[in-house]
Every structure is written in C-alpha cells, then in structure tokens.
C-alpha cells in the first residue's frame, strides 16, 4: 500500500491518525496543529497577560510535561512574555513520586525553568505513605486531594506567583461533567468546566490550558517530541463515580471520537444553565469551593471519591425514597411572592481564614487542618508507648488478647 500523504501539507508521509478527527498527518504538521490549538485556546480565553509569572503544576506525568513543553514553545513563538517556572508537590508516595520527581528535575534542566518542590511531609507532617499506614487504602484520596490543593496554592504564594496552570486535559473535563451528572452535583457542574477557576477572594488563579486537548493526542505529542516523562498511575487509586464515567467515555470515544469534545461543549453550556441560586453559593464561598472542584486531582482519580461512594449514594437515595411514603408533606399556605423568594435563598458561605494555618477557608478551621486533626489524634506519641493512652476499643482488644492467652495456658 502506498504511503498516505499528510492531510495538511499534502507532501510528507502521514504517520499519525489524529484521535480527534481521524485526519492523517505527518509528524511536523501534527505538532504544529496541536500547538496551534493550544495557542488558540489561550488567545480565545485571554488566559495570560504579558509579563505574567506563571507556575506550572508539574507531576512529571505526560500531561504536565506536555503542558510545560508547549507553553515554553508558544511563549517563545508568539512572545507571550511569560515568566514560567515549575512547581511540584511531593506527596511522599514511595515508588510513585520518587521517580517522577526525578523526571521533573530533569525537565527543569531541559526547559531551563526554575523548580520548586514542596513536600507533604514538611507542609503537614504527614507523607501519603504515613497517611495510608494510618487510615488504610480506602478514602485516602480525600487526604491527598485536599492536601495537594492547598500545597499548590502555598507553593505559588511562596514563589510570589498568582497563576498556577495544571495539565488537565479534555478527557479529564469530560469525565468530570459525566461524573457530576451521575452524582447530581449541580454546583460542581456549573464550575467544573470553566478554563479558569478563580475566586473573588483568593489571589491565586488556576487554569487548564490543555482543557480542549485529547489525552491520546497528548501522549502522541509527548512521543513525537520525545519528551521525557514518567508514566505510572497512582498506586492508591480506587474505583468510584469517576471510574464509571471513565469507562463510559472510553466507550463513547470508540463510537464517535469527537464525543469527548462534545461533552466538554455540553458541559460548558449546562454550566450556564445551572439555576443561579445553586450557582451563587459556589461562587460566593470563594477559593475553597473553586479549589475543591479541580478535576482529576491525582492524575488518575479525583481526590474526593472513595470506593464505595456510588453504593453509598444509592443506599441514601433508596432510604430517602422509602421514607417519602411515611412522610406527610406540610405545605405553607401560598403567600405573597416574597415568601417564594425566601425559600430560594441558599445559605451563603462567607470566606475567612483558617484559625490554625491562615489558609483561606469558609469554615473556622480549614479542611486540611480538620483532616490533620483526625490523623494526629490517632498518632501514637512514640512507637514504643503503644499501651499508653489507648482508646477504649484498643484496650478491649488488648484485654481480649490477654484473656485468650490465659485460656491457652489454662488448657
């Protein structure tokens, strides 16, 4: 079979079928098209201003590596005048982070960008490995997600930077749209798709320039530019709503490759259709909300979802439904229209600072500090003093063991 010519330049030999629209392209044209599309996204949404200092949230994975490479290329080609640097978070997961951080360090040299690494250990006193040892493999993504969000902001603040870009791609955004539909989360449906998650109160802006780029094309781009990236999934990732949404999206992509982008488009439109009273509560409560709804936290799973979430929600819904038949609905007599208005007011969250760490929070104590509280309470003061200050439960189990031993000696 004769080699197919590139769809774009009609000269070179096509080596790539674009996952997005099945165009056959040569290597040079593909790289060019990919970069141009990211450029159009940046220009179309006025993402940066000249002279802006921007931190790239770098994990060493394909998305952030491609993001760094593309931004560096575009910054030089189109003279954005950006001052770019890399910002990495070390969650302290052995075997996952050690190697990927080495990749980030090499990237910093390759792209000639300054690099800042912040560890959970130094920020919170707990590495993820220690958290998992404490609470087990279920639900640890919550900790990781909450900690990472603050860590990126704190890292940026430390560097005096007000804009953090992350490598979330179109697949991530599409997954989030589907996931929020499945779990009936309207406030997040209204925020999750926007390219910039900015809050009125926090001075740090988050954006995702690769929002319209397909995951498959990111892999192709990384491959054809021979970028140095580290490919592995988080070893602690569980299966949940996002998992269900992900499977669905993979099937959709097989049927109609454009559907990932189509979901993003639907998601953007629906965000504008979410009723204002739902929407407002999200916008008013500022950075915590904006920061919390980041998509695809750890590159494989979103922070908040734990294994049994879908089943738990199902249980709750079923219980609500069975309770409904036992309830008697009491309706207020129809009053003047003002009473209708009253019903619609949603409790607004006001933004303040965490009493402990000073991080922006709508609560008295921020979520990270809350989680830390829980962790620290159960942490033994020293490893040897196990029997000191045990909780009731543990005492009883110690007692049990002692009794078992007595029984054994008796027999």
């Amino acid at each position: 079979m004769a080699p197919t010519a590139c769809f774009n330049c009609k000269e070179a030999r096509a080596v790539i079928i674009r996952p997005k629209n099945r165009h056959k392209l040569c290597r040079a044209c593909f790289l060019e098209v990919f970069e141009t599309e990211v450029h159009e996204t940046i220009i179309g949404t006025n993402l940066f201003y000249p002279g802006e200092r921007v931190a790239i949230g770098a994990s060493g994975g394909k998305d952030s590596t491609v993001l760094a490479a593309v931004l560096k290329t575009l910054n030089e080609r189109y003279r954005y005048g950006l001052d770019l640097c890399l910002l990495s978070i070390d969650e302290g997961i052995r075997g996952y982070r050690d190697d990927s951080l080495e990749t980030v360090k090499r990237n910093a040299v390759q792209y000639d960008m300054p690099l800042e690494i912040l560890g959970y250990g130094e920020l919170y006193g707990w590495t993820m490995d220690q958290v998992v040892a404490q609470i087990g493999k279920k639900g640890n993504c919550t900790y990781c997600g909450v900690f990472r969000r603050q860590a990126l902001d704190r890292g940026a603040a430390k560097l005096g930077i007000k804009h953090v870009v992350t490598g979330h791609n179109a697949d991530d955004v599409a997954e989030t749209v589907m996931m929020n539909l499945l779990r009936a989360d309207l406030p997040r449906l209204s925020r999750g798709t926007s390219i910039v998650t900015e809050s009125g109160a926090s001075d740090i802006k988050r954006s995702k320039p690769l929002k319209y780029a397909y995951e498959k094309e990111i892999v192709l781009y990384a491959h054809h530019r021979q970028l140095d990236y580290f490919s592995t999934e988080c070893i602690y990732s569980p299966e949940a709503f996002r998992g269900s949404a992900r499977t669905l999206i993979k099937d959709l992509e097989k049927i109609r490759p454009s559907s990932i982008l189509d979901i993003v488009k639907s998601g953007e439109d629906m965000a504008a259709l979410v009723p204002r009273e739902v929407n407002q509560s999200g916008k008013k409560c500022g950075s915590t909300a904006a920061a919390e709804d980041d998509v695809g936290g750890c590159g494989s799973q979103n922070g908040r979802t734990s294994g049994g979430e879908m089943a738990a929600m199902e249980k709750e819904l079923a219980e609500n439904e069975s309770a409904e038949s036992r309830e008697t609905e009491i309706r207020l007599p129809k009053g003047p229209p003002s009473s209708v208005h009253l019903q619609k007011t949603v409790k607004k969250q006001t933004l303040g600072h965490c009493e402990r760490c000073g991080y922006l929070s709508s609560q008295r104590i921020c979520k990270a500090c809350n989680l830390l509280d829980g962790l620290n309470r159960n942490r033994p003061k020293t490893a040897i003093e196990v029997s000191v200050g045990l909780e009731d439960e543990e005492i009883s189990s110690t007692l049990m063991r002692q009794m078992e031993r007595t029984e054994l000696t008796n027999s």
Partner: protein
C-alpha cells in the same frame, strides 16, 4: 371467616398474593398498577388546575410508539378518563389526541405494527387516534425540505421530482454512522410531533419516556454536544416551538413499566416489544443512544436511585432562551454558545461555514461530518 393463607402477601392490600417486587416492596398486580398510576396521575393533575385557572380545556397530544412505555402511559390516562366519564358530572382535565407515527416508515416495514395499531384503537374506543407516516414531516414542517437540503450540503442532492417518502429515504441513507442516524431520526420525529401538535392546536405534548430512557437521553444528549437542549428535551417545560413538553412517566423506570405490562392483561397484544440490543454488537457499532440506554439499564440494576437522579438533575437546569438567541432551524437547539458560556469549543470548528446556521450537535451528525 378465617384469614386467607398467603405465602407472600401484597404489602399494600395484604389480601392477595404478591406477584412482583419493586423498590423493596412486594405488590400484587392490582396494587402495583394503582401505585404506578398514582405516580402518573399526580403529574397529570396539573391540567385540571390549569383548566380551572384559564377556563380553557388544555389540548394534549400523546405520541404513541406502540412500545412498552407509551402504551402503559396511554393505559393509565385512559383508565383515568373512563373513571371520570362514569361520574355524573364529567369534568375531564384535558382533551387528548393520540398520534402514532407508523413504525413501518421508520424501521423496517412489518405487519405486526399494523396489528398493534388495530388492537390499540379497538382497546381504547373513546380516544381519538391518528396515524402518520414518517415522511409527513415535510408536510407538517413547512420549510423542512429546504432545511434538510441546506443541512446535508454537498453529500446529498435532493431530487424534487421524488415523492416525500423517497426524499426522506435518500436523506436518511446519506447519513453514515449509527449515532448520527439515530440522532437525526429523533430530531425529525420531534419536529413531526410538534408540527402535528401545532396543526391541531395542542399546547402540550405528553411524552411516554420512562425515567430510564430520560437518563439515557440526558447522557446521550450530553455526549452528542446537545447539553443546552436538555432544558426541554428531557425536562418538563417549553420547547423552542411554543409547544410545552411534559414527561409524566418520569417517576417510573423501564423495568417497572415492563412489570406493569406483565400484570396488565389489556396491554397484551397491543405492545410491540423492543428489539433487544444484541450483546454481540461491538461497542463501536452501537449508536450513542443505544450505548447510553444499555449503560443506564445495566447500572440501574445495581444503582437505580443514582440513574434516576440523572434525569432529575437535568430537570433542574433552567432555560435561558431569550428573544435574541439564534436557534438551529433543524433541531431547535442553541446555535453557538448559551449566554454565559465563554468556552471556545465552537471556535475550534469555525473553519466550517455551515456552523453559523446550524447548532453544534447537528453539525456533528451532518452527512460526511468528520467526527
């Protein structure tokens, strides 16, 4: 009198053997029918209220596919009408017309559809039935021929000497993928139903979509880039053509409607069973609508509430259509972005000069579209 010896009594009447289980309760056939009918009639009761307020009897159109869901809906509404007619002072909340778009003109022709139509008109003698072929969309939507021709572009040449039937067949044959075919068929069906409703002066179309189907339609709509149309395609509310859409079956799932059919003798012989989707079909050969229906049904076995929540969530979205919004001449969806959406997905396909006229979702299903 000694109490009846029941192995598994119905939890409602406690007087008959339970024949089915749903929502963690066991029912006998009659009690289950009453339970389902109550859910539907509660939603239909608003028309009586409307009649009281406006002094006019609302005119409703019920499109009947002869499948399970719409037949059950018809049965329930008919039961209510008959009860009302038995009263001394008849006060019907609405006027109802039934439209059957001949399935033989949509799917492959089959005598079973004729039989079912005969049976249904006999079973409900007090109701008004009408049957139209699919291609009458060209009659009831006046500029449809021009719209279709412009929409299809160069890959389809309309031959004016042909009959409406042949023109529709050629147009449908020019669409290559299963997804686009199913998508455009449902667009055209909606247009025909609305066009007919308008010709009769009906203010509302009462759709027979189960909650399962609504969830699947929601997810499929999102996946096809039609998220902005959810405010009327799966929500109760005003459609872009000034006819309201209502979905009174939204509290019942498809398996429950099948259970209903199972315990309702009058419906046997009327309902044409759905073509089962073969498990052997490769995922990539399914249409997005089929994939979603399959997804919602399989997930619904384990997570019924979660799936039901999908359509409830979509029903909460609020339409923002203003007078200055440009609507797609084919499907009635928003052209470009909804107000307040600053995304640039639309700009990505600006090289295509058609996109200025038709909406994003329709552009994806266009014959020869690259997607």
């Amino acid at each position: 009198m000694p109490a009846k010896e029941l192995v598994r009594p119905c939890l409602d009447c406690k007087d008959a053997e339970a024949v089915l289980d749903t929502r963690k309760r066991q029912y006998c056939g009659n009690c289950f029918q009453r339970f389902a009918a109550h859910k539907v009639l509660l939603r239909m009761s608003k028309y009586k209220q409307l009649k009281k307020e406006t002094g006019q009897t609302p005119k409703l159109l019920l499109p009947l596919s002869l499948g399970v869901s719409s037949s059950v809906l018809l049965h329930i509404i008919n039961g209510d009408i008959e009860r009302q007619l038995a009263n001394t002072f008849v006060n019907l909340g609405f006027e109802l017309t039934i439209l059957v778009i001949d399935p033989s003109t949509i799917l492959t022709p089959d005598a079973k559809y004729n039989q079912a139509y005969e049976a249904v008109t006999k079973a409900f003698p007090k109701l008004t039935f009408n049957r139209l072929p699919f291609h009458s969309v060209f009659e009831y939507v006046s500029d449809m021929k021009e719209i279709v021709q412009e929409y299809a572009g160069s890959s389809f040449t309309d031959d004016e000497s042909l009959s409406n039937e042949d023109r529709l067949t050629t147009f449908r044959a020019s669409i290559s993928t299963a997804t686009s075919k199913a998508d455009l068929d449902s667009v055209l069906l909606t247009r025909l139903v609305v066009g007919y409703a308008k010709s009769l002066g009906c203010g509302t179309v009462v759709w027979g979509d189960s909650d399962t189907r609504l969830a699947a339609k929601t997810l499929a709509g999102v996946a096809k880039g039609r998220g902005a149309s959810l405010t009327w395609s799966v929500s109760d509310g005003m459609s872009p053509w000034g006819v309201a859409f209502d979905f009174p079956l939204r509290d019942l799932s498809k398996p429950e409607l099948e259970q209903f059919k199972g315990v309702c003798e009058e419906l046997s012989g009327i309902v044409v069973p759905d073509e089962p989707i073969s498990d052997n079909v490769l995922t990539k050969n399914l249409s997005i609508d089929e994939l979603m229906m399959r997804y919602v049904r399989t997930q619904g076995e384990k997570y019924r509430g979660v799936m039901a929540n999908v359509s409830r969530t979509a029903n909460k979205l609020e339409s923002t259509t203003g007078s200055d919004d440009v609507l797609c001449p084919l499907c009635g969806g928003h052209v470009g972005n909804v107000k307040g959406n600053s995304g640039v997905t639309v700009a990505n396909q600006s090289s295509d000069n058609y996109s200025s006229k038709f909406c994003y979702g329709c552009m994806r299903s266009r014959p020869g579209a690259n997607c």
